[in-house]
């Protein structure tokens, strides 16, 4: 894996997620943590872009502990727990928040 993008703030209240989606390339991973796990719900523009990025080979992940806290869920294969997040950090060349 090349770069790991960590998005932390609500995808509805902030626009910080746009940078990750703008820069991520094939081989990169975007992991949504904290309030950014709201990304499973949108906004619509984000959901469209997520589908597009996945087809280009960008991996999308959501932190399980933060999803559970907020009563949200993602498909099993896109969910990582803290152990999985730490593996993403180990594998990444660099981390961009």
């Amino acid at each position: 894996m090349d770069n790991l993008y960590l998005v932390t703030r609500s995808t509805f209240e902030r626009t910080a997620w746009r940078l990750a989606l703008r820069l991520a390339q094939s081989g990169d991973t975007i992991c949504f943590i904290q309030d950014a796990v709201l990304a499973v719900k949108g906004p619509l523009e984000l959901r469209d872009k997520m589908a597009e990025l996945e087809s280009k080979g960008v991996d999308l992940r959501f932190l399980a502990e933060d999803l559970n806290a907020r009563s949200l869920n993602a498909s099993r294969e896109k969910t990582v727990d803290y152990e999985g997040l730490v593996e993403l950090i180990e594998k990444a060349s660099r981390i961009i928040t």
């Binding site: 932390t8 703030r9 609500s10 509805f12 209240e13 904290q34 309030d35 950014a36 709201l38 719900k41 949108g42 906004p43 399980a64 502990e65 933060d66 559970n68 806290a69 907020r70 009563s71 727990d81 803290y82």
Partner: protein, 120 residues
């Protein structure tokens, strides 16, 4: 003694990422306990506070939907802004008991309040 005042509290933040929802709760019950009339509105990301099934044990934090569900016991009224719910792809079915309001009803709540305190 001055007549009872009505305070509208707008809670606009997703729980847990910031302490805003938890700290807003303390103000709601604190002011309600001191005899002020409190209307608490969950809107924008704040509607997430009303979603049942939250489990923040993995974060070492306290669950919030259950404490908000008991707001009426402290004399505060709880409202959830339905357009915010819909915009987030959620359904009121999974929410704790509350009064559902739209934009027009929210405007009325604002107009009937003496003060508006925002937690965002």
């Amino acid at each position: 003694m001055s007549p009872q005042k009505t305070i509208l509290i707008l809670l606009r933040s997703c729980p847990y990422g910031m302490a805003t929802a938890a700290e807003g709760y303390r103000v709601i019950i604190g002011l309600a306990g001191m005899g002020l009339r409190i209307h608490a509105v969950l809107l924008e990301d704040g509607v997430l506070v009303a979603l049942k099934g939250q489990n923040p044990s993995g974060l070492g934090m306290h669950e919030l939907s259950q404490v908000f569900a008991k707001l009426t016991e402290f004399g505060a009224d709880l409202y959830v802004h339905t357009p915010s719910v819909t915009e987030r792809g959620l359904s009121e079915a999974g929410f704790i008991d509350s009064n559902l309001i739209d934009d027009e009803e929210l405007k009325d709540l604002i107009t009937s309040a003496d003060h508006v305190i925002t937690f965002n």
